[in-house]
């Protein structure tokens, strides 16, 4: 149970961390104080949540980072290119901390402790700056912390809270917590007035005489009032509505508050209202324009989400998978009975099931741009490390995909980005020499194309030098010197294991996976990658992914009474082939037949998969998009199009890499799902 909660917390906090990181990266490009504010709030939220979940050390660490950001907010110092990486590092550590809140990992424990010391020292410097600033300006400093509420439609209130009976500091009365809660808000000035020990003395007791609160909040009078109704027996509570905008940014009002605080007096409401009146007209105008801006920003953020544990979604998908299978069974019955009313019902169930399937699948989808922060960070870090200037643009990220798919492609994409910054984008000097702008660009796009997802990563760097790649491959014994290769084949060489064109191994390119792993990882999710490149214009990596992993539209075929399923999105066309034609071909041209004027190599799956017996008098040829018209796979019969739920294969079939899974067909028999990417291994 604890684990579940930790996970929930880690996930929530992880989102906040991403937000903080994104804000800071924006700040790096555009040092606008709102980004610092965003980052500060995210840390503030993480801290609060950590304390609520009793994770004190994590909360404390988050608090230290929050404090540094507070210093930036207060304009005590700037987050320059030296200081920003420190904070980003702290966020990385915090991210690891979230995964291991008890600090069981010794390395992490040491790192957190080192980092805490550093943050404490830094805090000391900030405190010093703060003292200087106070001395300089002689401004009253109220203990004001920002809250996470949006500052739109603020109202200003004055509250006076007087205990009827004895209430003292630290007596555990809930009112202390309510006051503390108010105190933590951005626009709230609280003064606690204590009773004096003797009438004219200056010594105070711990007994509360009254609290007064100046508060600007989005809450209405009624909403504010109900905070206190359960304590009316213990307190006299007066709430005055002072203004329907935020007064607590006005120097005149702040001065007043300070004076009252020092004089230990209650607010004279009518006098306060007079001061307010004189400010009113001027303020109103300003506030209206501010509000407009704020609400515009807020609308953007107002999309609501519901967080659901993954295992529930998985259960839902499994349920739907069963339903899809049952639907096929039902469809078989329909064909047998051929009863019109029954057919109607079955069709209705089919439609509903299809809709349900689409909805449930879409629920489990994660937008690709959720990875964007990570990538921006990566590009920014890598560029800094290599002393290059690179911006990541994401003009069009409109796809969503399975969480599993996102996880599977995250690392390959990271590697491609790193590759673009390291090998693609030239150094600033080189770029200037070529007449390019000093700053390099990487464009990250993703969109739907047919039943596929396309992800493209394009840089405006040097492009690939095909001759150099070829030489390197020869040097590394990947190809022979006299191998003749097309340009596409040469480009593909960089995905060979053990290939690297970097003339020196940098920390950047040496890290993590190689390009061969990129290709293998993508293959695992039925994806493919190709490269387009032009000298001095740039390189594009274009990735193709299937829409989803678990339910596919397939072409049901049979081979010697066994069902084989081809993923429909890989099929280009189907042709019939007479046995005589094939017999002829076998004798002459290495199983090549001519269809519509094209030479096609026929791969007899019967033979390759080890089925005995003779081929039927007429077979079907399946053309896959991967092999264009050059190759076709021969099966006995095409049964038809089906929708199928892919189940993982057992240990037995583990080595059969031409299969991507199995499925239960409508009649209860098992079908094997072929993996088009690996079918070429069969010849």
């Amino acid at each position: 149970m604890d684990d579940d909660m930790n996970k929930l917390f880690a996930e929530e906090a992880g989102d906040q961390l991403d937000a903080a990181e994104e804000a800071l990266l924006k700040y790096e490009k555009d040092p606008n104080s709102t980004y610092i504010e965003d980052a500060f709030r995210a840390l503030h939220t993480i801290k609060g949540a950590a304390y609520m979940f009793d994770m004190l050390s994590l909360g404390n660490y988050a608090h230290k980072i929050e404090n540094i950001l507070d210093g930036v907010r207060e304009q005590l110092f700037e987050l320059d290119s030296q200081k920003l990486p420190i904070i980003l590092n702290c966020l990385d550590l915090l991210k690891q901390f979230l995964q291991d809140p008890q600090l069981d990992g010794k390395d992490l424990r040491a790192e957190i402790s080192d980092s805490s010391i550093l943050l404490d020292d830094w805090q000391e410097e900030i405190n010093e700056l703060n003292r200087q600033k106070r001395a300089d300006v002689e401004k009253p400093l109220f203990s004001a912390e920002p809250n996470t509420e949006e500052s739109e439609n603020l109202n200003t209130y004055y509250l006076l809270i007087e205990p009827k009976n004895e209430v003292s500091d630290g007596d555990g009365h809930p009112m202390h917590d309510i006051i503390a809660e108010f105190k933590s808000k951005e626009f709230c000035y609280v003064t606690t007035h204590h009773k004096k020990l003797d009438e004219d003395g200056t010594r105070y007791t711990e007994q509360i005489k009254h609290w007064d609160l100046y508060l600007a909040t989005t809450e209405t009078y009624e909403e504010l009032e109900v905070n206190f109704i359960f304590y009316e027996d213990d307190f006299n509570i007066k709430i005055h509505h002072i203004a329907n905008y935020n007064l607590l940014t006005e120097d005149k009002v702040l001065e007043r508050i300070k004076k009252n605080q020092e004089a230990d007096e209650k607010e004279d409401i009518s006098a306060l209202k007079k001061t307010v009146k004189s400010l009113e007209d001027q303020l109103k105008e300003q506030n209206e324009t501010d509000n407009k801006k704020d609400s515009q920003q807020q609308n953007k953020r107002k999309q609501k989400y519901l967080r659901v544990p993954t295992h529930k979604i998985e259960k839902l998908i499994n349920g739907i998978s069963e339903l899809v299978t049952a639907k096929s069974t039902l469809d078989n019955f329909r064909k047998t009975f051929n009863h019109s009313e029954f057919t109607g019902v079955v069709e209705h169930i089919q439609n509903v099931t299809d809709e349900l399937r689409d909805t449930v699948l879409s629920v489990s989808l994660v937008p690709l741009d959720s990875l964007l922060v990570k990538f921006k960070r990566l590009v920014s870090d890598t560029a800094r490390e290599l002393e290059k200037s690179v911006t990541l643009h994401s003009p069009r990220i409109e796809t969503e995909m399975d969480k599993k798919m996102i996880d599977a492609i995250s690392d390959p994409l990271m590697h491609l980005f790193r590759n673009c910054v390291d090998h693609g984008i030239e150094s600033p000097d080189e770029r200037i020499k070529k007449g390019k702008p000093e700053q390099g660009n990487i464009f990250f796009e993703s969109y739907y194309l047919g039943s596929n997802i396309v992800i493209s990563i394009r840089d405006d760097g040097a492009g690939m030098d095909l001759a150099k790649i070829r030489n390197k491959a020869i040097e590394k014994n990947i190809i022979d010197e006299d191998t003749s290769l097309t340009d596409d084949e040469i480009k593909d060489l960089i995905f060979s294991p053990g290939f690297s064109t970097a003339s020196k191994i940098t920390g950047v390119s040496g890290r993590g996976v190689g390009m061969d792993v990129v290709k293998t990882n993508l293959k695992e999710v039925n994806g493919s990658i190709r490269i387009e490149t032009e000298k001095d214009v740039g390189t594009s990596f274009i990735i193709n992914l299937p829409l989803t992993l678990s339910i596919i539209d397939g072409l049901h075929t049979t081979l010697a009474n066994t069902s084989y399923i081809f993923p429909l999105n890989h099929i280009q066309k189907i042709e019939r082939l007479k046995r005589d034609q094939l017999m002829e071909a076998q004798g002459v041209l290495n199983n090549t037949v001519v269809i519509e004027g094209e030479q096609v190599k026929v791969i007899n799956l019967r033979e390759y998969l080890g089925y005995e017996g003779s081929i039927p008098s007429e077979s079907s040829l399946i053309f896959l998009t991967e092999y264009e018209n050059k190759k076709a796979f021969m099966v006995d019969k095409v049964v038809g199009q089906i929708q199928t739920v892919i189940k993982p294969l057992g240990e037995v079939a583990k080595n059969a890499d031409y299969l991507s899974g199995s499925t239960i067909l409508g009649d209860g028999s098992v079908g094997l799902v072929l993996d088009p990417n690996n079918l070429s291994n069969l010849n």
């Binding site: 909660m5 009793d54 809930p174 917590d177 209405t220 359960f230």
Partner: protein
Amino acid sequence: MDSTLLIVDDFKNIRDLLTNTLERKGFNIITAEHGKAAIELLKTQPKEIDLVLSDYNMPEMNGQQLLEAIKSDQSISDIPVAFLTTEKDPSKIRDAKKAGLDAWISKPYKLDAFINQINHLLK
């Protein structure tokens, strides 16, 4: 003797979270997943339960209905009731106060303040 709290919430996660947190703070915890079960428990062991902590928005019987049921039954009407909820509608809060609610605790709460509040209600 340690105090015993009855937690009423239709979500198992929340019941588990509260049980875990409050047990660590030394309270005995009983849970009910809806108002009916809560009343059943209160009636069978009125002496044992010191405080009811209930969610407000629940299917079938909401917090207000549970509160009214408790306060109208003399055998259990002395047991303090607090709502632990994200509901913020002032008129609902007022109605609950009128029906005899002892505290309206807004989520998210800070743990320390929450414990303070419970101790205050148990006094």
